[in-house]
């Protein structure tokens, strides 16, 4: 009897493991029923395009969360990189491809500072990145005199530029996701990242370069923040002084919705974080379609996200139950 239960559990396991996607589909169907116009490939394209900015931030955040860290400075870093590059553009014209490189570069430096303070000075990530947030945004606002940061008029064409019909922001987002997921699942670094997040001491004992890995995740977070800024710039054309404020929370929410744990060691970029990001964005878009009273919109979306977290909790519990049970069954050893 144990055997049969085990296989059934296996099935439930598969279903539960893919919960984020299940959720995504459910919400999409729900909105499609509420408003037929929603049921349209273009909607998905828009959702993906609009999710690309926060999505890229969230991918970086996933790396950080995997090490049980947190990065509150990503929004500020994104703004900083955008502002500095636009300032630079005032002085010297730059080739387009240089923009993302420069922004990512600035993000890299910012992330390096965070990482070094956290990993080597061993200060709590929360405080380091909180302070860094003020540091970077303050400096950036000083640079921009808190005016809009402008970019060459044509830049938004990039945002609408399609590669085989797929808008550039989505392409960049997709590339980031693919690379990130491959790194996490197919490289030693990626696997060791999970190990560090689970138990740093044990990781160090096993000979994993824990500290370097911790620095690296904040660097990755910074680089992706810079890249995200670029994605935003090509869609919006200008960067307002409020750009990026509070986005760190959206990123964290997306990652956690996707199953990442704030205590480290658990989470995936795909499907996890991607699903989480798309879910949040889909709700936002759905609200616009259904034209709910603007006062109620945020309440409803909050409620939906809450429900999603609730489901996810139930799922994790179910998973735990199943694994627990499989321990209790003594597996006979065929000889």
């Amino acid at each position: 009897m144990a055997g049969t239960r085990f296989t059934r559990d296996q099935l439930t396991l598969v279903a539960l493991k893919n919960m984020p996607i299940v959720l995504l589909v459910t919400v999409f169907v729900a909105f499609s029923l509420l408003d037929h116009r929603f049921f349209d490939a273009q909607t998905l394209v828009n959702i993906a395009r609009q999710a690309s900015y926060v999505g890229i931030l969230a991918v970086g955040m996933t790396f950080v969360l995997l090490t049980a860290g947190i990065d509150l400075s990503v929004g500020a870093v994104a703004y900083l990189s955008a502002v500095l590059v636009s300032e630079l553009l005032k002085e010297t014209p730059l080739p387009l491809f240089a923009l993302p490189v420069l922004m990512a570069g600035i993000g890299l430096l910012a992330g390096l500072v965070n990482g070094a303070l956290i990993s080597f000075a061993r200060i709590t990530p929360f405080i380091v990145t909180l302070a860094a947030m003020g540091l970077y945004r303050g400096y950036a606002l000083g640079e921009s005199q808190s005016r809009e940061a402008n970019f060459p008029a044509g830049i938004t064409d990039l945002g609408n530029l399609g590669i085989f019909g797929v808008p550039l922001p989505i392409v960049i987002f997709a590339l980031v996701v693919i690379v990130a997921q491959v790194v996490l699942s197919k490289t030693a670094y990626g696997r060791q990242l999970y190990a560090v997040g689970q138990d740093p001491e044990a990781a160090t004992r096993a000979g994993i370069p824990t500290r370097r890995i911790i620095v690296s995740v904040y660097v990755i977070g910074g680089v992706l923040a810079g890249l995200a800024a670029f994605v935003s710039v090509i869609q919006m054309g200008t960067i307002v002084p409020s750009f990026g404020t509070g986005d760190e929370f959206d990123a964290i929410a997306a990652a956690v919705l996707g199953g990442a744990s704030l205590f480290g060691g658990r989470g995936t970029v795909f499907p996890g974080t991607v699903a989480g990001t798309l879910l949040v964005q889909m709700i936002a878009v759905g609200m616009v379609f259904t034209q709910v009273d603007l006062y109620l919109t945020p309440m409803i979306s909050a409620a939906v996200i809450f429900a999603a977290v609730l489901l996810d909790t139930a799922r994790t519990r179910q998973l735990a139950k199943i694994s627990k049970r499989s321990i209790r069954v003594e597996i006979p050893v065929p000889v």
Binding site: F126, I127, V128, L130, A132, R137, E201, S261, T297, F306
Partner: protein
């Protein structure tokens, strides 16, 4: 010999001495005890004051100390609330929402007159308040209104606590979503308007010295509860290792639930003070206060991993934050300069603190 302890066991708590324990019966010199006590943060505060003194006009002028005080008390109350939740191993992001929520509804109940042109569209018009003000508009009502505000705070705390302790949802997400919801609900409840005409008996709070005693009394009670009461012991145990706590017969769920409720109540108290000072119930009250709250708590030695922290420390953390902000304001710097300087100072403060605790661990 137990080197590797698994995650839940190592949460919070002082770093364990490695190897055999060398019992240090010798009493430490005063400077040492100062260095290793919560008062260290006070030391940092003094350093900041001395550093800013030459540049900040009238930093120590009575008038300014008055400001610092009036900024200090409400924030203190809120941070105390957060401290309870942090010790339990959680986090309460919804405090900002609770501030606005209680502020608006308290004001609705207390207001002495409301202009129909502004408020008639409010869903609570005619229910909680009307042309002639709120249902508790009379002088005696003020006290009741206070009670109601705290009850509302407790209610939201209950909601958070239930989701976290019973349903087992991650505190961060729970309180994040409740924040989104409550904030939206609050704005909707007045259709964006601020609620004015609060009874003078109430707004008098802002100028009178009632604020100080209230906060001090609350702080002292909170301190006693944490350090001496059964609940306090239970709270720390739960924060350090909930499983051990449960096996030892501690009602872990109720303890956690209570922490969130308390956070709600204390926040409501803070809201009451802020509201009195601003003379209006505001749907956007304290919208970006959260970072100050958690920052102050952490600088005050409260651990985000749970099981560690004291009211004394938290209070000093608040003092540090308030003095720093006030000092930088007085320097007449451009606001963005203030932003990054503040960031820098906090960073170095915590940096020093980290070095300090590592020294402590070594000795």
């Amino acid at each position: 010999m137990d080197h590797a302890a698994t995650k839940p066991a190592t949460r919070g708590g002082p770093p364990a001495p490695s190897g055999p324990v060398v019992s240090q019966e010798a009493r430490q010199p005063l400077w040492r005890r100062l260095l290793y006590s919560d008062l260290f943060v006070l030391l940092l505060t003094l350093i900041v004051v001395l550093a800013l003194l030459p540049f900040a006009n009238g930093l120590l002028s009575p008038g300014n100390l008055l400001n610092v005080a009036s900024n200090f008390w409400p924030l203190l109350l809120i941070v105390i609330g957060q401290t309870f939740v942090l010790i339990a191993g959680g986090i309460d992001l919804s405090q900002t929402a609770i501030l606005a929520f209680t502020s608006v509804f308290g004001a609705m109940l207390m207001t002495t007159a409301a202009n129909p042109a502004l408020y008639a569209k409010s869903p609570f018009w005619g229910i909680l308040f009307n042309e002639n003000g709120g249902v508790l508009g009379s002088g005696a009502g003020v006290a009741v209104a206070w009670g109601v505000m705290m009850a509302l705070g407790a209610l939201i705390g209950l909601l958070n606590g239930f989701a976290v302790s019973r349903v087992g949802m991650p505190p961060f997400m729970v309180t994040l979503t409740t924040t989104l919801f409550i904030t939206a609900f609050t704005v909707w409840s007045t259709k964006s308007e601020n609620v004015l005409n609060l009874p003078p008996a109430y707004t008098a709070l802002a100028t009178s010295w009632i604020a100080a005693p209230i906060a001090v009394v609350v702080a002292v009670i909170a301190h006693v509860v944490l350090s001496r009461s059964v609940y306090g012991h239970w709270l720390y145990a739960t924060g350090i290792n909930a499983r051990t706590a449960e096996v030892s017969g501690i009602p872990v769920r109720r303890v956690i639930l209570m922490a969130y409720v308390l956070s709600g109540v204390f926040t409501a108290l803070g809201a009451a003070l802020y509201t009195a000072r601003l003379g209006a119930g505001r749907p956007t009250l304290g919208a970006n206060l959260l970072m100050d709250v958690i920052g102050a708590a952490v600088i005050g030695g409260v651990s985000l991993m749970g099981g560690r922290g004291r009211i004394t420390g938290a209070a000093l953390g608040v003092l540090f934050f308030v003095v720093l902000t006030n000092g930088l304001n007085l320097m007449g710097l451009e606001f963005y300069t203030i932003m990054w300087v503040k960031g820098l100072v906090i960073l170095s403060a915590v940096g020093i603190d980290t070095v300090r605790s590592r020294l402590e661990a070594r000795s």
